[in-house]
């Protein structure tokens, strides 16, 4: 099975965010497992025809979110955190939202906006403490 990411150069979403969001989604749904290696920054940037700095930033954001870890000589490894693995109910709800959006003929952007609106309505979640 091959796992792919797509970017749209015309999208208002920054390219690094498109890459970050897709890899985060792939980790969350389990298509990328704990310990899986991601391609090197240069290889993925070459494949997508974008600057290596864009991929590097996406990887940095993923690392900051605890979804991947970068190690010298090994590369970037997926570290699926328990937080994303045990939250079955939100995952099921998200799946239902996606299915419903397809049935109702909503665009991806509209579905994203709906979720963003719901998140705003329920206030900001408590940020996890970061060890200094």
């Amino acid at each position: 099975m091959s796992v792919r990411v797509r970017i749209d150069l015309d999208s208002p979403t920054p390219q690094y965010e498109q890459v970050r969001a897709q890899i985060a989604a792939l980790v969350t749904v389990g298509d990328l497992d704990d310990g899986d290696r991601l391609p090197t920054v240069r290889a993925l940037a070459n494949d997508l025809g974008i600057a290596p700095g864009t991929i590097a930033r996406a990887y940095q954001e993923l690392e900051a979110a605890g979804l991947v870890v970068s190690r010298r000589r090994i590369g970037t490894l997926v570290t699926a955190p328990p937080r994303t693995l045990v939250t079955k109910a939100p995952r099921d709800a998200a799946t239902n939202l996606a299915a419903l959006a397809r049935v109702q003929g909503l665009t991806d952007q509209e579905a994203h906006d709906l979720l963003a609106a719901a998140l705003l309505k329920h206030g900001r979640a408590a940020q996890p403490e970061v060890a200094q």
């Binding site: 796992v3 970017i7 792939l26 391609p39 993925l44 494949d47 025809g49």
Partner: protein, 305 residues
Amino acid sequence: MSVVLIGLSLLVVGGALGLLWWDQRRSVAPNDAARRAVRHAAYTSAVAVACLAGGLLAAVGGQDSGVMTGMGRLVAVVPAATGALFIVAHAIGDLTWPGPQGRQREADLEVRTVSGIAPTGLARWTWTMGALLVVATVAFGLAASGPRTISRTLENGQTYTLGSFPGWWFGAPVLIATIAVALACAATLRVIAARPAVVGTSTDWDMWLRRRSARRVLRGSQLVACMTLAGTSLLAGTTVRSLGLGDTQGFYATSVNHGYVVVGIIISWLALAVLAAGTLVALVPVRDHAPDPEAAVPSTERVAP
């Protein structure tokens, strides 16, 4: 002789380019991007082969015409220098590899490593030849009695010295050139592994094209390593044999030492064997056809929501 040399040069370069053209024509390319990629790879290899063959033939011509007489050190590093040109041509070709076009792009999250694209046997052979060259150069340097001479002690206590022998005079530049070629080869293999994937092709097809590029780089690298090893070993073997035979006609009539003669002959034969093996590995085709896009089973694809 120069006409023969020019004719031979044209024959070798023309043959190599013809082989590349034929290889490009028979390659199965599933789409236009793939055809462009195969063509780019063929042009890259054509330039690289022209650099390699041109450099080697220029050196042969220089030797033949006497221009390079007395330039032993230069002759010793010619294979490595032309090999470096060959590798640099490949590196430039892969750094300028056609990237994806269009506003919507996608990429496999596939990890590509050098070990994944370089044929294992060929890679091992190439590194072994490089290591053997380093070991042989150091051994000859240690065995030498001077920068480019070797000696043996006669029965009467006097020493009998002969040259040219690949001591440190030849060994130092050969070592530096060998290390430079090895580093360039390793770096180019990394470039091949990281170059853009060919749009609209399966992972298998893309990896096949990378394997082919890596194989060409390794073949050229091992060829220059084998040529340098064969050249230095042949020089060493011939000199050691002459040292063993002695100079029965000279002022100091020296006796024959059969040990030196046998060692010299063995080294010379080993040198010829290494040259033959390197040439065979460089030229013998391998069975690694492009995956047929018609027969390929489409892989399951997962894209982030």
